[in-house]
């Protein structure tokens, strides 16, 4: 009975329900309850492919639970990430991270199973509203500002999605969330809504702005869901849209330069996250079965290794109190296990053979090669070297080796180590047994990344990238880590929009003020007119005061205008 009920619920719903009451549960029991909620939610997936729950609301059919070969791999990895995050946050006594984290993961999982655009919109916004608390919980003024900017951008994405959905409905009479073709304003709005959350070029500022300001646990949780939900949405809605190849190439290339000079290690990882999304976006743009498999495989592997890297830097932040590269170094002695896990994450993201990135990225590169897209191939190959450079080398090197930062700290808390160990096992497992991994992908494929030629080529790429880094370091060409703020696209709304917006705002305020002054000038005349009306014998003594009369008048005017417009 219980199991029937669970398979009827949309996956993720149970997690959100449980999150609502989580604050009442004492600390250790709370962690167990969260794990049970995630397990229960995962059990819903056993319902298999199909449309399991549709409700009718205000005349619309809302498909709350639709599962298929595309949603399944994302759902699996979202559940894995949610469970690992519970272990990672076990040491945290405050309930904020737990409640927000579980509700956020639940909303993202529910969004994967939305069969129509309205349901998608609801969960799309729910991910924004739940996740913002992970940033707010940092408690600093800086974090509060970043959280508000994050929320505005995320909600704006949802509003665009809703507007697009409404227009699409009036065009086609359908709200189904399925493949779309870019063309009408409706599809463009939806495309941009997805693009904001997928951190397209120029729309990416929120990611590097907000993620590094979240709590130790919060950043790890944030890294998993929002952007990959957007990748899923693009894969479902816009597979084969060629524009995505160009957008994806830009996404892989530009963040690399920023990552090289950024000082905050969690921000370096946020740039590298952006670059990784680029690979997936390119693959979605190609749109062949091999490419979509590549995008999904890369998203799957990426959630785990990127989470692992954020976990290791979170552990460093937790123990040392900073993740500024300029202040770190030499931590290999104090935090040896964290170092090992960080290196596993680094080798996975760099796509070393036997690590998960290799099994995933190879699919995308082959798909590009088969299509004969030479320029895009070369960009992604360069970006692969770049990934190794800033995530594979820079992160472990400056944190654990480099120059001795003089920090004598304890190893990461036990829960963090468990989460990092779990993620490491998955990284190596996926990389070492790709055949098993490929079975959960949307399309069945016969692909083997481990032929001698391919492995040799990849090893050359990696080893000579590291040698380039060593060469630059040794001869002092490598730019030193400096305390700094590197301007990113959020500068456009944090500075340019303010510069341009302020005069406009002033102009509007000036007009408004002169208007209210003018009204004030006539105030006496208006007041007397009302007075006469109120005290006229016609209305009698029960007539309400002047304020109500004014409001009634205004209402009448609005109604009159409304009727005129409607007529």
């Amino acid at each position: 009975m219980m199991s029937d009920l669970l398979t009827m619920l949309p996956p993720g719903a149970l997690m959100m329900l449980v999150a609502a009451g989580l604050v009442l549960v004492p600390h250790h029991a709370r962690q167990l309850v969260m794990l049970l909620a995630i397990a229960g939610s995962a059990f819903s997936l056993t319902a298999g492919a199909g449309q399991h729950l549709t409700i009718e609301l205000l005349g619309f059919e809302m498909m709350l639970y639709r599962a298929d070969h595309l949603s399944l791999p994302f759902a699996i990895v979202f559940h894995i990430a949610a469970a690992l995050n519970v272990f990672y946050g076990w040491h945290e006594r405050r309930a904020t991270d737990h409640v927000a984290g579980l509700a956020y993961a639940g909303a993202a999982i529910a969004a994967l199973h939305a069969g129509d655009l309205i349901t998608l919109f609801i969960w799309w916004e729910a991910t924004a509203i739940t996740s913002v608390f992970l940033i707010l919980a940092s408690g600093t003024q800086r974090a509060r500002h970043a959280a508000m900017r994050y929320l505005i951008v995320q909600v704006a994405s949802g509003v665009l999605l809703l507007a697009g959905a409404a227009m699409l409905y009036s065009e086609s009479g359908s709200l189904a969330f399925a493949g779309m073709t870019l063309g009408s304003a409706a599809t463009w709005l939806i495309f941009i809504a997805f693009g904001i959350k997928a951190a397209f070029p120029l729309l990416n500022g929120w990611l590097q702005d907000a993620y590094p300001e979240a709590t130790v646990v919060g950043t790890v949780v944030l890294s998993a869901f929002t952007t990959k939900l957007a990748i899923y949405a693009l894969a479902r809605g816009f597979a084969g849209t060629e524009l995505l190849i160009v957008i994806g190439c830009l996404m892989t290339a530009f963040p690399v330069f920023f990552a090289v000079i950024e000082n905050d290690m969690r921000r370096v990882l946020a740039y590298s996250l952006n670059n990784q999304l680029g690979f997936m976006v390119v693959a979605i743009g190609i749109g062949t079965e091999l490419a979509i498999n590549g995008a999904v495989a890369h998203a799957f592997a990426h959630i785990i290794y990127k989470g692992l890297l954020f976990m290791s830097m979170g552990a460093v932040l937790y123990r040392v109190g900073t993740v500024k590269a300029s202040e770190l170094g030499g931590l290999y002695k104090s935090m040896p296990l964290t170092m090992v896990f960080c290196i596993v994450g680094a080798m996975s993201i760099s796509a070393f053979p036997l690590f998960s990135g290799f099994a995933a990225k190879s699919l995308i590169m082959s798909a590009l090669g088969y299509k004969g897209l030479v320029a895009a191939y070369l960009v992604l190959l360069a970006a692969s070297a770049g990934v190794l450079h800033h995530s594979g080398i820079k992160i472990p090197y400056f944190a654990f080796f480099g120059h001795d930062g003089g920090h004598k700290v304890k190893e990461a808390p036990f829960g963090m180590l468990v989460a990092m160990a779990g993620a490491s096992v998955l990284c190596i497992g996926i990389g070492s047994f790709p055949g098993l991994f490929y079975q959960i992908l949307p399309y069945s494929i016969d692909y083997n990344p481990y032929d001698a030629s391919h492995v040799l080529g990849q090893m050359e790429l990696l080893i000579f990238s590291i040698l380039a880094f060593t060469f630059l370091m040794r001869f002092g060409f490598y730019p030193p880590e400096l305390k700094s703020t590197v301007l990113n696209t959020d500068w456009l709304y944090r500075r340019v929009a303010v510069w341009l917006g302020r005069p406009v705002l002033w102009a509007i305020m000036a007009v408004w003020t002169s208007f209210t002054c003018a009204v004030a000038g006539y105030r006496d005349a208006i007041w007397q007119a009302i007075e006469r009306l109120v005290h006229s014998p016609l209305t009698g003594p029960t007539v309400p005061g002047r304020a109500v009369m004014v409001q009634t008048l205004v209402l009448v005017v609005i109604l009159a205008i409304g009727y005129l417009v409607a007529a």
Partner: protein, 83 residues
């Protein structure tokens, strides 16, 4: 201070060893290039040592690009603090 410089020396020694190991692996890969018939996804990649040479120069290009980006986009750490 002596403990610190000892630590620094240790890190330098580790760096030296890592470099040697990397050079050795690099040499092995170059030798393998002429033993294994390597082919890429695109024709350009079939050129001898293409991945090695491409990666090496791309990495230098990235760092040069980074240094240039610092010139135009790097601000003091407290740049946004007046918000």
């Amino acid at each position: 201070m002596s403990a610190n410089s000892e630590e620094a020396q240790k890190l330098a020694r580790m760096g030296m060893w890592a470099t040697r190991v990397l050079l050795a692996i690099g040499a092995v890969l170059v030798v393998l290039e002429f033993i294994i018939h390597r082919h890429g996804e695109i024709a350009l990649e079939d050129l001898p040592l293409f991945p090695a040479v491409y990666a090496f120069f791309i990495c230098i290009f990235i760092v040069v690009g980074g240094i240039f980006l610092r010139k135009i986009a790097m601000k003091p750490e407290d740049y946004y603090d007046d918000e």
